[in-house]
């Protein structure tokens, strides 16, 4: 099933993940999620449904949230990908990560990386969101543990703190 099968054609990919450049060869059909997780070791990106509904695999591609299960690795060629591993500054959690903990916005933590990346992109675009706008964007992803309450609160807290402290 290799060689002339268009599904399995090898492609050279050059991608930056959290600022680190990577060069690798992947089959055409290899998803971005599998490439990140299994070829590059960014296992913080999780797969909950592999059909684009749950959003656990949400990463930022050139700053825009994307379902890594719905993109092929080869589509990330030449682009900048940001994953949950890139949020903390060394050992120091980001303000958003701290807010998730303070608001008990995570329990099992499986959906958490997707929500963090979704919220990160959202707050970059809309630094002063209303409660309804937050709830609307949070409804893009699924969480089975928290009932979303702590997630919404954490995003609101982070937005307020960032506004108070000046835009990052």
């Amino acid at each position: 099933m290799t060689g002339d099968d268009p599904l399995t054609d090898p492609h050279q990919v050059s991608v930056r993940v959290n600022g680190t450049p990577h060069e690798l060869t992947v089959e055409s059909r290899r998803t971005l999620a599998d490439m990140l997780r299994h070829d590059l070791g960014y296992t913080g990106t999780h797969l909950g449904c592999e059909h684009g509904i749950c959003g656990a695999c949400t990463v930022l591609v050139d700053g825009e949230p994307a379902r890594a299960c719905l993109m092929f690795g080869v589509q990330a060629d030449g682009r900048e990908v940001r994953t949950v591993e890139g949020l903390a500054d060394g050992e120091e959690l980001s303000d958003l990560q701290r807010a998730f903990s303070e608001r008990h916005g995570l329990q099992c933590g499986f959906c958490t990386p997707g929500f963090l990346m979704l919220a990160e992109a959202f707050l970059a675009e809309n630094p002063d969101p209303s409660e309804d706008e937050i709830r609307d964007v949070v409804s893009a992803n699924l969480c089975r543990c928290t009932g979303y309450q702590g997630i919404c609160e954490a995003i609101a807290d982070t937005a307020a703190a960032r506004r108070a402290g000046g835009a990052p």
């Binding site: 099933m1 089959e27 059909r29 290899r30 997780r37 299994h38 960014y42 296992t43 913080g44 990106t45 999780h46 797969l47 909950g48 449904c49 592999e50 059909h51 509904i53 749950c54 656990a56 994953t83 949950v84 591993e85 949020l87 903390a88 959690l93 990560q97 998730f100 903990s101 303070e102 008990h104 995570l106 329990q107 099992c108 933590g109 499986f110 959906c111 958490t112 990386p113 963090l116 409660e131 709830r135 609307d136 949070v138 409804s139 893009a140 992803n141 699924l142 969480c143 089975r144 543990c145 928290t146 009932g147 979303y148 309450q149 702590g150 997630i151 919404c152």
Partner: protein, 781 residues
């Protein structure tokens, strides 16, 4: 004091950084990948499985079928009931001869790459002759019939002024944790050691089952629990894959990895909840409950899985709830159908039974002209009647409702939601159909018979706890650390809890049935106290003092009256190294203890849910602007985590009440096989802010901390309270009939097509209610 404080969760830092370690994050050098070939039909004779083409594909390592495991026994029941053997209905690890549900494993393909394994699985040819599929429990083979009760039920109903009867159903839905399952197994032939990563819930039990099926001693098998992406009852039971993956690793002589995808998870992981109740209650003229009876059809799907009779058993035992009940009779038929097998899902049996019972109370209140809250208050057990021994059996334990003031919590919940009826009025004025519902419930938690914990202190003073539980999101690492910290008088962040490693803790019974804080916490208390005793003896030697004269505070022993000379726990541990100065003759070196905590009974928390719903009269869509969970927890070790359990549970329960259902077509094909069709609530459907009222009025007398489990109280009455609120909003005379209350169902109820009239029992009616016709009829074909 750390117990009782909302300390930050120990789990959070790694999970927030993407450094949790879930099953699919584990890899072993040289691993091959499994793909399971599953039945595409509900019921068929297997005439042949042709693996030749798949096996010939480059990159394929092996293809196995039922014939290869024909001598492997089926998966046993974890909690067997000797009165009801289920041996004839257990699931084989691969179907052989016959398949009984869509999704049943028929073959397994192993390849060098997961993509190749999936390609090859599509080349396995199944020669199947389809057979009729049974899709309604009342048409299915009855695997067991449970009967229980007390008092003279016939007399109670014969003499009653009012009898209220109903047929109510709960739709099939399930835990659906967000992480699909995964397993990695590696076998070391030279040492005859099997290692499996990805265990959860009950690692030691599963170690025993796996060892038995592989013909190995349990001590040769080591399971590691990982971070679990949600459990809720379904994850961590022993499924066919839990045998196949390790067995393939041994057979092939190389590590084997399996990661489930969502399409598989929705048909392979235990389903739950599907029951039909023909339930009736008898009241006197003053609204006093005289009797309760129920005949239940429990759709268990195609096989009896590891839970055996747990859900049926708890349905029957817990149906009476927190009420004073003179006479009770219940019969449950556990029937097999050609659907995914069922098991427990958070609040098993109670979600279903609470819905059935509380709907009856609402109907009765209207019939008797008594306020629904008042009707409940009149019939709740009072503090003077507690502890209350109920002559029923729950999971092999006698039922003693241990501590509580049920009316007090009901009154507190009503006071807290005082303005909600006025809010419903305002919503009605805006053109919505709106109503407030209320449901009271009894929970159970802390199932024994025992749990085990090790507390180990090293020379630096760092502490490890080897727990028998597993991490499923409930915060067990934090809670057990808090409990150990309190006993050892050290900060909780000095304590690391290691979960679910069967070599480190071979005597743990696992995390389920809201038992980890109650029973696991009790074991940590005992082990930590034993460590303190040892350390005290050592400190006394070092300080040349009488152990009785030592005080422990901030992790240091001092002699009363002379605070300057001190021995820390770490120093005591160092002095207890082999040959150390703190060792008595013949003492075991190190500062560690393993202790078991046993319980005879479960402990019974209780609660009240109140909800305000607003229904769009055009679409039937139900919105839930307000929701209260009031819950008595005995003692909250970490209040924030208790609230998190209650809020999250309510959201999950709302899913089953309003949206989620595994429906099947008439051929037994599942209609919800993606998240497009299986509608888990998003942030747009859940309650914006679930209020909680957590009380600590009635600590359990059965464990040293007085705790009661908090894992399930958020979901138990979710179906009941939303049904109650929808019923109030629509002004129904009868029950809502069935859950989930999807927009189309609610629209039917608004049009009067529901069961409002048909399921109202006659005055003093004595016969079992009829099988439903129209109205609430099941939709399974």
């Amino acid at each position: 004091m750390t117990v009782g404080r909302s300390v930050p969760r120990h789990e959070d830092a790694r999970l927030l950084r993407g450094r949790g370690r879930f099953a699919d994050d584990v890899n072993r050098t040289g691993q091959a990948y499994v793909r399971i070939v599953r039945s595409p039909v509900a019921h068929a004779r297997i005439d042949g499985v042709d693996t030749a083409e798949a096996a010939a594909m480059p990159g394929v390592v092996a293809v196995v079928t039922g014939a290869d495991v024909a001598d492997v026994p089926p998966i046993p029941v974890r909690l067997p009931n000797p009165d009801h053997p289920l041996d004839a209905h257990l699931q084989p690890v691969l179907a052989y001869g016959e398949v009984r549900y869509v999704g049943e494993p028929i073959a397994a393909v192993v390849a060098e790459d997961p993509y190749l394994a999936e390609d090859a699985a599509e080349l396995v040819e199944l020669d199947l002759t389809e057979l009729d599929a049974v899709l309604d429990a009342e048409d299915g083979v009855c695997a067991a019939t449970l009967t229980d009760g007390f008092g003279d039920v016939d007399a109670a109903f014969a003499g009653a002024a009012h009898v209220v009867e109903a047929v109510v159903e709960v739709g099939r839905h399930a835990a659906v944790p967000l992480e699909p399952r995964g397993l990695v197994a590696a076998y070391d032939a030279d040492r005859d050691r099997m290692e499996v990563w990805g265990a959860s819930k009950v690692p030691n039990f599963n170690r025993g089952v796996l060892a038995g099926m592989l013909g190995m001693a349990p001590e040769r098998v080591r399971l590691y629990a990982m971070d679990g992406g949600g459990g809720f009852g379904a994850r961590g039971e022993f499924y066919p894959e839990d045998f196949l993956v390790p067995w393939l690793a041994r057979r092939l002589g190389r590590p084997v990895k399996w990661t489930e995808d969502r399409a598989e998870a929705l048909v392979a992981l235990n389903h739950s909840r599907q029951q039909r109740h023909r339930v009736a209650a008898a009241f006197d003229d003053g609204g006093t409950l005289l009797g309760l009876r129920d005949e239940i059809w429990h759709d268990n799907g195609a096989y009896a899985r590891t839970h055996g009779l747990t859900v049926p058993d708890l349905t029957v035992a817990m149906l009476p709830g927190p009420y004073r009940l003179p006479a009770y009779g219940c019969r449950l038929h556990m029937a097999l159908t050609h659907k995914t097998p069922c098991g427990t899902y958070r609040a098993p049996g109670r979600y279903e039974g609470t819905f059935a019972r509380e709907q009856l109370f609402d109907v009765a209140a209207d019939r008797l002209g008594i306020d629904p809250v008042e009707l409940r208050r009149r019939n709740l057990l009072t503090p003077a009647e507690i502890p209350h021994t109920r002559p029923l059996n729950a999971l092999g334990t006698s039922m003693v409702l241990d501590a509580g003031d049920y009316p007090k919590l009901l009154d507190a919940a009503v006071a807290r939601t005082d303005g909600w009826r006025a809010e419903a009025e305002r919503l009605r004025a805006d053109g919505m159909r709106a109503g407030v519902g209320l449901a009271v419930f009894l929970e159970k938690s802390g199932l024994g018979p025992y749990e085990t914990a090790d507390v180990v202190v090293d020379a630096s003073g760092a502490v490890r706890v080897h727990s028998g539980g597993t991490s499923l999101g409930q915060g067990i690492e934090t809670v057990l650390a808090q409990i150990a910290a309190e006993r050892l008088t050290v900060p909780d962040d000095r304590i690391e809890v290691v979960n679910g490693d069967t070599d480190l803790q071979p005597y743990g019974l696992g995390s389920w049935a809201s038992r980890s804080t109650v029973v696991g916490g009790g074991a940590v208390v005992r082990a930590a106290d034993a460590v303190v005793d040892k350390a005290r003896r050592t400190a006394a030697l070092l300080l040349e003092a009488d152990p009785a004269d030592l005080e422990l505070a901030d992790g240091r022993f001092t002699v009363k009256g002379s605070p300057d000379a001190a021995v820390t726990l770490g120093e005591a541990a160092a002095a207890r190294m082999p040959g150390g100065p703190g060792m008595g003759p013949d003492e075991e070196p190190g500062l560690a203890a393993r202790r078991v905590f046993t319980v005879d009974h479960m402990t019974y928390p209780y609660g009240v849910h109140v909800a305000l719903v607003a229904i769009d009269p055009g679409t039937g869509a139900v919105r839930v602007p307000r929701y209260l969970v009031a819950y008595e927890v005995g003692r909250a070790v970490n209040p924030k985590l208790v609230e998190g359990q209650l809020v999250g549970g309510a959201a999950q329960g709302l899913g089953g009440a309003l949206y989620e259902e595994f429906r099947y077509d008439e051929a037994g094909q599942p209609l919800a096989t993606t998240f497009m069709d299986y509608l888990m609530p998003t942030a747009s459907e859940t309650v914006p802010y679930v209020e909680t009222l957590v009380t600590e009025d009635a600590p359990s007398p059965d464990n040293p901390l007085g705790t009661k489990g908090a894992g399930e109280g958020g979901i138990t009455a979710a179906g009941a309270v939303l049904a109650s609120a929808v019923r109030a909003a629509l002004g129904l005379r009868g029950t809502v009939g069935r859950l989930p209350l999807t927009p189309s169902r609610v629209a039917e109820l608004m049009d009067g097509a529901g069961p409002s009239a048909s399921d109202l029992g006659g005055h003093n009616g004595g016969d079992a209610p009829p099988r439903p016709e129209g109205g609430p009829a099941h939709e399974d074909g």
